[in-house]
Subunit: 320 residues, 2 copies
Amino acid sequence: MKALVFKKVRAPIAYEEVPKPESKKGQVLVALKAAAMNHREVWMTKGLYPRLKSEVIMGADGAGLVDKRAVVINPNVNWGDNPGHFSLAYSILGMPTNGTFAEYIVVDEDKVVDKPEHLTFEQAAALPLAGLTAYRVLMNKCKLKAGEKVLISGIGGGVALFAFQFALAAGAEVYVSSSSDEKIQKAIALGAKGGANYQEEKWHKNLGRQVGGFNVIIDSAAGDGLGKLASLAAMGGRIGIYGGTRGAINNLSPQMIFWKQLEIYGSTMGNDEEFSDMVDFVDQHKIVPVVDSVFELSDGNLAFKRMSEGLQFGKIVLRI
Amino acid sequence: MKALVFKKVRAPIAYEEVPKPESKKGQVLVALKAAAMNHREVWMTKGLYPRLKSEVIMGADGAGLVDKRAVVINPNVNWGDNPGHFSLAYSILGMPTNGTFAEYIVVDEDKVVDKPEHLTFEQAAALPLAGLTAYRVLMNKCKLKAGEKVLISGIGGGVALFAFQFALAAGAEVYVSSSSDEKIQKAIALGAKGGANYQEEKWHKNLGRQVGGFNVIIDSAAGDGLGKLASLAAMGGRIGIYGGTRGAINNLSPQMIFWKQLEIYGSTMGNDEEFSDMVDFVDQHKIVPVVDSVFELSDGNLAFKRMSEGLQFGKIVLRI
């Protein structure tokens, strides 16, 4: 079968022929119809991912057929017994075990769930890792309630967009931030109540005056900006952090944290139950993932280029 | 009656004759037997406290008699309807309303609870504000469970010592940190499993090797040290922040926060229900507050001096 294979750091991904896997007892063979990219695959090519192994088929996200059953794949490998955090044995499909950028994959039979009928394979393949991360941090960590005010920073990324769509579906009033006015306008077209460009001076003060305090803030930048986000939180606000692209948190006022009784939750991925709950939530609310672009599997390196440029609004999908 | 009255910033507290208050319907007159100091009174004298008003009787903590009933006073004024955070109308006895450093105080009748019988008035007076803050952050925010490993930073302060005693009573394995070896030894004598002097280089690495990760960390320093505390947290660890004596949080890794799925809770004071729960907990576990020293009310300025030097281990109490 054909697959996109990780060779080594700072080298192109190889589109090549590899052996078709075979399922054992308790496993299923999925004929993949679509897969989707995450930032982790770009980090792998830059050497910024743990336990890198060459000759591994990349990709965490996939949807396809088990015989005639249409499924979405749960990318968790060995989450473990504690729903609160993953075990030491945990990993995600696509490193160090083979992933979804291939014609076939074998996974444990409890790792596939029915594809929501309202989604195409390409839309369904966009769900797994980003949807799971967004669902856990927004719904189970920050415990979003209907009617609350939510700020999603860095709109356009996969997790940010799912958090945005899930918050809307949950009945929240959702605002976004971005360095791109175009992305903010796209989010407003999708239902955002407003947005702010964080490259503008005093953006947070203007947004704070407009909104009057957010109950929930979802961020993956951290860095110097987290203090500004905290200043935008309402009393009793919850901040979910699922990334740290801007590096170490600096200049964050502890007085603001304890005075406003803020809660800050670190969260990444989610457990198997959260995966099922997330797909059910998508099905129930007929949420359609935002797909930025679709590439053929053989054009994998073009998809990697698109992802590393950071211009996407939604998920980058591979058609298989 | 005699009272300790706030006059102005950077001036001595006045011990002087003031009118005895009178209770209205729904209020009680408490004949105070003892009061206790908190850092906030020192901050007032330095001008570092909001809404300062001169001619106010200071003091949040007190115990005394309502007729023949021995009571402890809940220092909350107008917490409000939301148990999650206080209302805009919230304050604490002793600024801007009159406090406990006096022979008498009038409070709403629902703001007194029975003094635990195993405590003297001086011990009971040590409980309110520090006990309430410690109880909320440790039990209701960080949700400490029996058998967990806990680190209390800055042992010796009122809140830190109550958090320490409550954690022990709840069946946790408790460690402490301090800049003073003497305070660490005192904590070990009281039941701490171990401790570390944070002025030593690599103290956190040594403590981490010894303990292997804390489930709960209670801190009031913040600053550059919070990142070291976070590095000591176990997977799924909870960090409670109730102060920020070292200023802004810097150099805190977001990757550590989301990878370990940490939860950071800002917390200060507590609601009225938490106050009752705290006094019940103290009663049930027969906890005896650590009293550093007892001064006569007329020696109030000596008590302030002791507090501002930071040498105390436990609460500084005023006998009335």
